[in-house]
Symmetry: C2
Subunit: 660 residues, 2 copies
Amino acid sequence: MISPEKHQRMANAIRFLAMDAVEKANSGHPGMPMGCADVATVLFTRYLSFDPKNPLWPDRDRFVLSAGHGSMLIYSLLYLTGYEDMTIEDIKSFRQLGAKTAGHPEYGHASGIETTTGPLGQGIATAVGMALAEKKLADEFGSELQDHYTYVLAGDGCLMEGISQEAITLAGHLKLNKLIVFWDDNGISIDGAISLADSTDQHARFRSAGWNTIAIDGHDPEAIAAAIETAKASDKPTMIAAKTVIGFGAPNKAGTHKVHGSPLGADEIAATRKALGWEDEAFSIPADVLDAWRLAGLRSTKTRKDWEARLAAAEAEKRAEFSRRFAGELPGTLAGAIDAYKKKLAETKPTVATRKASEDALEVINGVVTETLGGSADLTGSNNTKTSQTKSITPTDFSGRYIHYGIREHGMAAAMNGIALHGGLIPYSGGFLIFSDYCRPSIRLAALMGIRVIHVLTHDSIGLGEDGPTHQPVEHMAALRAIPNLMMFRPADATETVECWQVALETKDRPSGIALTRQNLIPARTEYEERNLCAQGAYELISASDAKVSIFASGSEVEIAMQAQQQLEAKGIPARVVSVPCFELFFEQDADYQEAIIGHAPVNIAVEAGIRQGWDAIIGSTGTFIGMKSFGASGPAKELYKHFGITADAVVAAAEAKLA
Amino acid sequence: MISPEKHQRMANAIRFLAMDAVEKANSGHPGMPMGCADVATVLFTRYLSFDPKNPLWPDRDRFVLSAGHGSMLIYSLLYLTGYEDMTIEDIKSFRQLGAKTAGHPEYGHASGIETTTGPLGQGIATAVGMALAEKKLADEFGSELQDHYTYVLAGDGCLMEGISQEAITLAGHLKLNKLIVFWDDNGISIDGAISLADSTDQHARFRSAGWNTIAIDGHDPEAIAAAIETAKASDKPTMIAAKTVIGFGAPNKAGTHKVHGSPLGADEIAATRKALGWEDEAFSIPADVLDAWRLAGLRSTKTRKDWEARLAAAEAEKRAEFSRRFAGELPGTLAGAIDAYKKKLAETKPTVATRKASEDALEVINGVVTETLGGSADLTGSNNTKTSQTKSITPTDFSGRYIHYGIREHGMAAAMNGIALHGGLIPYSGGFLIFSDYCRPSIRLAALMGIRVIHVLTHDSIGLGEDGPTHQPVEHMAALRAIPNLMMFRPADATETVECWQVALETKDRPSGIALTRQNLIPARTEYEERNLCAQGAYELISASDAKVSIFASGSEVEIAMQAQQQLEAKGIPARVVSVPCFELFFEQDADYQEAIIGHAPVNIAVEAGIRQGWDAIIGSTGTFIGMKSFGASGPAKELYKHFGITADAVVAAAEAKLA
């Protein structure tokens, strides 16, 4: 049992590490760690199940610092509890180039950082995915292997962002009762008092979403403990509103927005040392306090060992499955299943929309890859993301493999991040390509973190027709290709679709988006080919000796490129066609491959029912682009293609004009 | 007074127009218009203050169909109430290429469409801006000139989207009591029953945000009327939950998701005709019903005339100001004020961050342009969007000109759209460039609609330093430049900053984003120049005869380009520098201008602390790009520039290598 005095000193250790690190960096946010030190101390010394020596232990509790600007809170905790890769030198290097202790907590920089946070609201929404994954895996593997809590520390900013509403209503609906969110109720944001901009009754709001809520004094250790106990016993997710003083301890600045995002300054730090009775110099933690913290870090060792014993005692197949899935390894049978499916496609040569081809591919994949967890943002029948294996999950039955995410693209994408980060599952889900804009911040975070989430993005051009420009992505392929480390696929037929799926699944350290058509496409590939041609990003689909024209295209426009090639051939103009399902992968190939694929035809033409931006890298700035220059329009798809001049005739005319 | 029978027939007119138009188009959403026909009939025949003969009358009530997929509802209403530009032929052309009656309602296609909707949640959030504008203008011009309601019809999808939370908490906080939202509570979404994905108590949720809520039978005309009366008397915004049956009247499909987004089919339509006792053929409205509707369209003529009389009687200066502002014309004194400010800049030659330069420019602008309405998403001190003229608006005092939007980028951007659409005000507001991702759907809609909203987007590169990659935009300039019709500016110094502001303000029919630095920049322009050089998108900043190298740059990298130019000159290599503050405008110049600016130097180099995508159009795909290839990192700004190789030395080395 930790005495009130010892608690206070342990909490103050966080406060001084935070204010001293921010001061040294001359940059950062001291107020939040100082305000939340008591909550964090109670959580980490008495409740959180974690093991600094085994930071990836699959059944650990997850802790998400949604208010990521308070990064010194988690860095302090990691150092104090004894994570070996977080030293006092790392703390001293706060916010310096190359340091683990980046301005905001970054996944992969140090153990114990469960997700990258900073963009507000992302943490709480990601945590919903973690809690969802836990509930799903507990259903599948039993509570002996999965039985942990997910804790979140969120600020006012997290709760004002719209994504938080999507997250809390999803969590409430699914009764994720092992999700416990602390709201750092300090009444202050950057502009000043919260009352400048908001009057929301957060308790009533969370309760309207099916949550349990508790209000406490965030500086009273026993109240914090009691709230956690109550939350753990609840059959609903719980929001604990912890009334705190931002910058707690700073005599002159506490409770004001001045302490939010700026160093306190030497004078105020000295005054705080005096006020809190802290005599140690910067970055020096008294031995008794550090010992107490290190002891807290050892607290869950037995729990972890007991869990390991249960895993070891589990039935062999179950153990192997559990271990394989947490290692992120795919079943060995996937490649064979895909190969067989590709052979079948070479025979049946289906004319299908790629969204339907994706469903067919998923039918094969989901039959083998037991860890896929599908879903859609209320477009199941349009995205074709549900297969025979993926029964819907309901609040009371998690045996399914499909989430009806509702009309919550942003919450969905963040939850997918959380599911992937949790481990044991591979999330994929569906939406319209146009609405990638609604969840772009979460897609970006997935790319920054390097995690395997797969976005099925259908209705990928003016080819969707009558829904019109509000629903027709024009700039979205370019905008998504712009995100570093994101693999954006746009397959041209059923064979390319399954190949793109295969690359997406086999790439453990990057997210993917797969753009798919609403409309039917004739097959681009009609011969069986063992190799995954899409894995190189672009490849020659139709070759021609002494080609005068190279036509590059992706997705639905490959059909147009092929028609144009035939017309050109009929006119005696040799042309080749290159399919470009993934820019990102193509530009990672060696220079020789890139040069060979780009070729040396005197005329380069690209066709894509989107904007030109990005294509110059392939066709050169003097190449011809057949695509969109404006927003789309409402009308039947075929008429739109004609109207916007994206036709084989236009390609042929452009080629002839250039050759003339 | 309309009898219950007449009401029923009038509502059925909507139902049959909707189902027949969808059937003819073989595409569309009949369920929502059929379900909401009663609500719409009561609203349009008894409450909505509107005049089809004067659709732009500034004091009309605004009606926003947030559930934009139910577009046939508003098209039917516009036709029935007698808007001259909505004929029965337009209804018959539903969803055809070139028709006014697009798949989703598009602002500008026909009178009476107050905003483009379809992307869910945008309508309700845009309406918040309209109601905010009304309250602001009522404060400024008095209730004799501004005193109208804003009505919204929203579906479950609108309320599930996170943006709705930002919108309703902002509206509740600001006590926008003349905002009345109907929630089409039909319990159905595309995937099936709402209960598949959501369990939110919407009444409790809205009340938590400071709203009044009412539950009614959405098919009971008197209940609908009573609810509107109650709402109008409330001192809070009101949400009226209208329990409806989706596809009301269709005997076999009503109340199911089958009627949401597909034609009913000939058989079901015939059955509906029988069930509702409707004997007229498709697109034929019985004369008595059409007469009754046309009469409803004339209902507010007197109200409009009375308003015109009040405007005519108003004090001359007030009348002129009101009229000028609703015409969207800037004060004639702006150009002179900006010119004087530019002269001053040429003298003082300030080294400032462009965010600070923007504040200084705004200080000049806000002193002259009385209709600007500023704000920030809780980053006032960082975005520098508040000037001496812009006192904060509070729930009880709308005399200010500044909105603390809170940490609600998406709700803010949509509200800005609503403010611009309402008329009488020019909204500008601030956020970090990185968080443009959070509000991208609303920025896109502004571009699609062609409206004047101005986004101040600060902290525009790795130059923000320690906050790290979660806060450093790398792909955002490219991603925003990809949006058609959006002017994305990135000025290089104080002079360019005010020039970009001037273009943004003077362009009535397009939105702008102005990307600004956190860090100080030395002036690029030191001589007074009367012309607005930024208006052409790119211009030669430093010329050189027989230039061997052309260096193109935007924003903070213009400084680097200029340093490199000096270094090259010292080495005897003539080089020129082109500043590129706006791609969109540059590529709209004539070919001669573009060619002259791009020039013919053997070596082209672009420098921008972002990704290359888009720059090939200027430097060619063989040009050299000095910029980012990955996400950024946390560290001091100067170190980051060196780390990522964005330096004058790198430009010089690249130039020399190419020339060697």
